[in-house]
């Protein structure tokens, strides 16, 4: 379970998150929607400690992410994250990209790590691309590679940060299919997305972010089909039409 309590985050004088409260249950898919600069991506980065926070707590399975004595390297193994830019390691093949962290962080044998990597590439449909470098893969393939790489650490939670925003429209589907597959496997996911249709269909709950606060939070269909807040309504009108 991830508990987010009164989290505040600023960059200099700019307050990006203003007292965010949120909790994510095991097995849940929570989608974060909202305009650019509303703070949703920043929140994801705070959850796995890539960003510091200026107030409040983020607790992952009882561990306070930003406490001084928390070993972030251990904690992050639980929290897979995939970014908007695919960030595949350009000097490694797809297989090595996935095998690197299990080998280095979990100290698995080379053979075990490669077997594991093959299995996860297979899972995201890249079994035949194992020996290719990222430069030879399409955007959608690189993004699926990034998903496989995160999954190979066997995380308890997956965070997705606008994973389809940098993709050509015709490549979005293959990445979303992977996300749907992951949801069916029962993975707990927090998905920052601009894809409202995806949020409605695959999200259990949706949180609408506006100017650093959660403006509306509720069951996905309700928030998107029948928003209670005026600001949510306006936002949805802009993106749906």
């Amino acid at each position: 379970m991830i508990e987010i309590e009164n989290v505040r985050k600023s960059f200099g004088t700019l307050e990006v998150l203003k007292s965010i409260n949120l909790s994510i249950e095991k097995g849940e898919v929570l989608c974060l929607i909202g305009g650019s600069g509303s703070g949703k991506s920043t929140l994801l980065q705070c959850i796995n400690g890539l960003q510091s926070i200026q107030g409040g707590n983020i607790i992952v399975d009882g561990t306070n992410v930003h406490a001084r004595d928390t070993n972030l390297n251990t904690l992050r193994q639980k929290l897979g994250i995939v970014f908007q830019q695919y960030n595949a390691f350009p000097h490694l093949t797809a297989l090595e990209n996935v095998a690197l962290a299990p080998r280095v962080v979990k100290k698995q044998s080379r053979r075990d790590a490669l077997d594991l990597a093959r299995e996860h590439l297979e899972y995201v449909g890249l079994g035949s691309k194992a020996d290719m470098k990222p430069s030879g893969l399409s955007g959608g393939q690189q993004q699926r590679l990034a998903i496989a790489r995160a999954l190979a650490m066997k995380p308890a939670y997956m965070l997705f940060d606008e994973v389809t925003s940098a993709l050509d429209p015709e490549l979005v589907g293959e990445v979303l299919d992977t996300l749907r597959k992951l949801k069916e496997s029962g993975m707990t996911m927090i998905v920052v997305t601009h894809d409202v249709a995806f949020a409605r269909e695959s999200g259990d709950r949706v949180a609408f972010f506006d100017q650093g606060v959660i403006c509306e939070l509720g069951p996905a269909r309700q928030v998107i089909n029948d928003p209670k807040e005026e600001r949510t309504r306006q936002f949805l009108q802009r993106v749906l039409h």
Binding site: L50, N73, F83, F89, H91, K133, R149
Partner: protein
Amino acid sequence: MQFQLPYSGLQWSDLPYVLLGVWNTLILTLAAATFGTLISIVIGWLRQDVPVARVVLAPYVDVTRSVPLIIQFILVNSSFALAGIPLEPLWVGVIVLSLYMGVLTSELVRAGLGAVRFQLKWASRSLGMSYWQELRYVSAPLALRTFFPGWIGTVIALTKDTALVSVVGYVELLRASQVLINRTNEALLVLAGTGLFYFAICYPISLYSRRLERTFQHD
């Protein structure tokens, strides 16, 4: 008693002397390139990742970069002599050239590390890698690709800079050829030959680097 006649022509027996010069040039280049590169990795990394180091190392970097090498050789040589621990000319050369190479190349290390996108570091860290694991498996291999072409250029320049160590009495290739010129008065021939030797040392380095760069480009 034997007298060396002035202007006796080049002889085959001069060859070992020239080869000694070649050997000394190679030894000095190899030592300075090795130590220099090691120094540059530490300094370049410190200057990139440790803010305090930037301030602390600035004087060393600025002085070494701005004072002509030939002056540095003489200063180091004289300082050690005055301190009562005279150094072999080879060591004067190794010390000065290593420090010099270290500074020049540290810029390349810094640029290489700086060119790695921070998102790649984030991606590594978010997989649970420590700072050092990220550096070892992601940043360093990527930085190497940016670093390498410039490094080869510096090594080639260094090979030729070893000629300057002759000011403190080191008999490397150029010094050996000057001695021969003084004796034979065949400046053109000897210098052409010496140039050829330098070429024979530097050209394979360039060739090798071009091959390596091509392998990097496949990534």
